[in-house]
């Protein structure tokens, strides 16, 4: 009986020793090199996750951009096709980059790929202003065409024609831009936007003249 009790005691003690060993293994002190490697691996996971989010954000923007381009009325079919092709190519390239980033195993390659998200594709630096300017110019041209049909006044027509010329130039100029031309092409983007601001002002002035033309002289014109 004593042997049996002894055996059971040894069994329980062994169990406790093994359990303690498991916990000890979990909390085992790592060497500095192991700690550094673990920290590096965790950092890379975090960096990949963030890079993936940034790529997704750009792809979402580009998909919305395709809708805007297709909705534009005053750019030619060829211009639309070319622009949509560019955007689709960017989406495909970003998707490939995302796959590559997820497969990266060393930090230097990962860093280069993370930089490429911004420096190679320039989605928010070039594509976003381009699309915004094209959309803006398209609306100016639509309104200008509508206003042009509503007046025979030469001064008003001249303002409308000037607005259309500026909007058209803005479209032509930004369509020619490429991500590779950044940051040099930022000047063109800003100049194009300034053209649209002027065109908008000319349309507002033309609208005022149109209202004055149909308003009795004693009644002051109202600002639209």
């Amino acid at each position: 009986m004593i042997n049996k009790n002894l055996f059971i005691s040894i069994l329980i003690t062994a169990g406790l020793v093994v359990a303690t060993g498991i916990f000890a293994a979990e909390t085992q002190t790592q060497t500095p090199a192991q700690k550094a490697a673990a920290a590096q691996a965790a950092l890379m996971v975090k960096q990949k996750e963030k890079a993936g989010q940034e790529i997704d954000r750009r792809i979402t923007f580009l998909n919305n951009a395709i809708e805007k381009i297709n909705a534009a009325k005053k750019i030619t079919t060829e211009q639309k096709t070319a622009l949509v092709s560019q955007v689709q190519a960017e989406i495909a390239a970003l998707q490939q980059l995302k796959v590559k980033i997820n497969a990266d195993t060393d930090k230097a390659t990962l860093l280069a790929d993370r930089k490429a998200i911004v420096q190679q594709y320039r989605i928010f630096a070039v594509f976003e202003p381009r699309i915004a300017i094209i959309s803006y110019a398209d609306k100016i041209l639509n309104i200008a065409d509508l206003m042009d049909t509503q007046t025979t006044n030469a001064d008003i027509k001249a303002k409308i024609a000037d607005a259309k010329t500026k909007a058209q130039k803005a479209i032509t100029d930004v369509l020619a831009l490429t991500p590779e031309g950044y940051p040099g092409n930022k000047t063109i983007l800003q100049a194009s936007k300034a053209l649209l601001t002027e065109a908008r002002k000319e349309l507002i002035d033309a609208r005022l003249l149109m209202k004055q033309a149909v308003t009795p002289p004693s009644t002051p014109a109202t600002n639209p």
Partner: protein, 102 residues
């Protein structure tokens, strides 16, 4: 005079002691199994699903197809304010620093 012990009573006492040891062993093994399974993460609560898409800023889709009539020229001109604002934002947008680790 030596008191005689009943052999049957002795057996009963030993049996009850055996049950205590067996019970202790079962508890110890149970604890052991628990620790082992804990080591493999069997008792961890499932990690909540994370939304990896939460940092995305949706770009507003502008209605590009208004019905153009004589009456809404003023409204269309007013809409150009939005376009002006969006163009300004696009030109001056400071993108999130992709290279920061925060």
């Amino acid at each position: 005079m030596e008191e005689e012990t009943n052999p049957n009573e002795e057996v009963v006492v030993k049996k009850s002691q055996n049950w205590l040891w067996i019970l202790g062993t079962i508890v110890a093994i149970g604890v052991l199994v628990y620790f082992i399974l804990s080591g493999f993460g069997m008792f961890k609560a499932p990690a909540p699903a994370t939304n990896t898409n939460n940092n995305q800023s949706e770009q507003p889709v502008v209605n590009n197809t208004p019905t153009v009539t004589d009456e809404n020229i003023d409204n269309l001109l007013n809409q150009l304010d939005v376009e002006e604002s969006q163009a300004n934002t696009a030109l001056n947008d400071t993108p999130i620093d992709v290279l920061s680790d925060n």
